[in-house]
């Protein structure tokens, strides 16, 4: 029972990070109807920027801010410089362009910083609190949960309560009509990419200190898990991403604890397959209009 509580609580922190990364995929899906397969590599670039700034200045917070800014800039640059120029009739060119980008960014990082794993320190202790003899969340886990909750709340406010949010939603759902009403749709797509990659960068920044260390591939597994989360929750549904993120985080925590660490990716793969076959739109998505 103690072990169950401990595994659930570690799964909760992992789930918050997964939900955040999945939310970044949901944002870009809603803005541009694309899954960004380069999200992990772009987040890794931002984490390396944060790592370099933290190493130079000694301040974790300065590094965090620089990492987020790098992610945002990279998102805008990739949308303007690459994604916008590809044909959009099918998703294929966008996916292939993203794969090219993954190779360029990850190989570029390995050349610039060396292939070895760099240890990255958390700003708070990772030693868990013990409540009633049961180890539960650590101060760093609490920081991760609070940050993820704050960012998701801020994004929800942005999308539902501000004029920019209204324009973003309008541009995503009815581009033609929005354009006629004066919304600059291409700019909204860029804003969507910017928000998305900055969010992904934050999720990667939060997750890397709890893992093996920083490498160009540090966010790959996070991306695959977050993709599964986004699909399980429904690519259109931010709330689905939150719920599925917590669920998948706890599932992989329990499987890691009770079976083995190498069984966790298989459990996620099995969940992804089952959901895709039974409800391809995700558990939280509404029905789709039939086409024929």
């Amino acid at each position: 029972m103690d072990r169950f509580v401990f595994l659930l609580s570690t799964g909760l922190a992992r789930g918050a990070v997964l939900a955040l990364f999945a939310l970044s995929l949901v944002i870009v899906w809603r803005a541009a109807r694309a899954v960004n397969f380069a999200q992990a590599a772009m987040a890794a670039v931002a984490v390396y920027a944060a790592f370099a700034v933290t190493a130079a200045s000694g301040s974790y917070w300065l590094g965090l801010a620089c990492g987020l800014a790098t992610g945002a800039l990279l998102g805008a640059a990739v949308e303007r410089g690459l994604m916008r120029r590809l044909p959009h009739r099918t998703p294929l060119p966008g996916m292939i362009g993203a794969i090219g980008l993954v190779m360029v960014l990850q190989a570029g990082l390995a050349i610039a910083f060396g292939p070895e794993h760099r240890p990255m320190r958390a700003p708070f202790s990772e030693r868990p609190f013990v409540i009633g003899g049961v180890p539960v969340l650590s101060p760093y886990d609490l920081f991760v949960l609070a940050t993820a909750a704050a960012v998701m709340g801020a994004l929800a406010l942005l999308f539902t309560k501000t004029s920019l949010g209204l324009r973003l939603r309008a541009a995503a759902f009815a581009p033609e009509t929005s354009r006629l009403l004066g919304v600059r749709v291409p700019r909204m797509v860029t804003v969507g990419w910017t928000l998305s990659v900055a969010t992904a960068a934050l999720a990667a920044l939060l997750s890397v200190p709890t893992e093996l260390g920083l490498s160009p591939h540090a966010a790959d597994l996070l991306f695959v898990d977050a993709f599964a989360v986004a699909v399980v929750g429904g690519l259109d549904s931010p709330l689905g991403a939150l719920a599925a993120g917590i669920g998948v985080g706890m599932l992989s925590g329990l499987v890691t604890g009770y079976v083995s660490a190498s069984a966790a990716p298989l459990a996620v793969l099995a969940l992804l397959t089952v959901v895709l076959l039974l409800r391809p739109g995700g558990l939280f998505a509404a029905g789709e209009a039939r086409k024929a």
């Binding site: 044909p87 998703p91 294929l92 794969i99 190989a107 939603r169 599964a228 990716p265 391809p280």
Partner: protein
């Protein structure tokens, strides 16, 4: 019939060419033949049905494991069996394992569109090392595969690497020729019809789900035989050899060669085998620290840049440049300022509630 003759001719030319290569080049040729079989499967799948698989390395691995398991089992059960029996049993195992996995993926593919299928296959690649540890596949060490020495009649004439290159060329020819026949025949026509417009194809009596599932299985078997070729050349199958990087290289080879083109797949396969080796050889000339960083990475960087350039400039790849005949280009009229206009109807029909 013409396709078969042409394939036999190309295979004979390739076998003749092995006499002009040193043992290491012959080993590279065998590797390229294995990669070619997988890339040919992938390029037909992506080019003709529009389904992007990021997991063809796993299908190769399935073929490699199937080959190693079946060939070893036959060798143990009948120690007197000739190498030909062992090889054929192994290839049967490779085709069965990769075909079964491909059929499963194909059933999923029939229900899924673009990014979902790519994400599923990506998750499959990431899960391969775990699967190798959880299933009885020998963990990180992988499985050993039987070694085929040069037959006595030829042993005075050729080295073992050259013999393996011959086997590789023969297996690749057997794997790719049916694919070329499918591509040029009625099945290929059905695949193109489904790619152009699923609804119209369905109304014309073509079952899109059946075509997609069949295309995936037809693409998986050559990939599995390609994995068997690599197992013949290296005498082992390890999960480390079929990681995400290798899987993406297969996509690179298909894209650079031109999606849908089997000749382009051959060019792409040779490029992804030879270019990294050339660059790493060149990188040994620079100082050790820099060379260590460039090792393996510079080639990936270049491939990534080439893929981006190709997808921006020439969606039909190198084969399209070589092809002098005017060919119908895919319509790109939706790159106008309103680059999301063609999506608006699907976006609307899918639109649910706002946040």
């Amino acid at each position: 019939m013409r396709t078969t003759l042409r394939a036999a001719l190309i295979a004979l030319v390739a076998i003749a060419a092995t006499f002009g290569l040193d043992p290491f080049r012959n080993y590279q040729l065998a590797t390229a033949a294995g990669v070619f079989a997988a890339v040919a499967g992938l390029t037909v799948l992506v080019g003709l049905t529009g389904q992007l698989s990021l997991g063809h390395a796993v299908l190769m691995a399935a073929g490699g494991y199937g080959y190693a398991a079946a060939a070893t089992a036959v060798e143990d059960a009948a120690p007197g069996a000739g190498p030909a029996v062992v090889l054929v049993a192994g290839l049967g195992g490779a085709a069965a394992a990769s075909g079964a996995l491909g059929l499963l993926l194909g059933l999923a593919a029939a229900r899924l569109r673009g990014p979902y299928l790519a994400g599923l296959t990506l998750a499959l690649v990431i899960a391969l090392p775990s699967a190798a540890n959880v299933l009885p596949l020998g963990g990180d060490q992988g499985l050993p595969a039987p070694f085929f020495p040069v037959p006595e009649a030829l042993s005075a004439l050729i080295a073992v690497e050259q013999w393996h290159a011959w086997l590789a060329i023969a297996i690749a020819a057997v794997a790719v020729t049916p694919l070329a026949v499918i591509r040029g025949g009625r099945a290929g026509l059905r695949m193109r019809a489904v790619l152009d417009d699923e609804t119209a194809a369905g109304l014309s009596g073509v079952d899109p789900a059946l075509v997609k599932t069949g295309a995936f299985a037809a693409s998986a078997i050559p990939a599995g035989l390609g994995g068997a070729v690599l197992a013949v050349a290296t005498q082992q199958v390890t999960p480390g050899g079929y990681g995400l990087g290798f899987s993406l290289l297969l996509v690179v080879a298909a894209v650079v060669g031109g999606l849908g083109s089997i000749g382009g797949a051959a060019i792409g396969a040779v490029l992804v085998v030879v270019l990294p080796w050339l660059i790493d050889t060149a990188a040994e000339a620079v100082p050790a620290e820099l060379g260590r960083r460039l090792d393996g990475n510079l080639a990936v960087l270049l491939f990534g840049a080439v893929v981006i350039a190709v997808v921006l400039a020439r969606p039909d790849g190198v084969a399209g440049l070589l092809n002098r005949l005017p060919r119908r280009r895919p319509s790109t009229d939706d790159t106008a300022p309103s680059n999301h206009a063609p999506l608006s109807t699907t976006a609307l029909s899918k639109s649910t509630k706002l946040l």
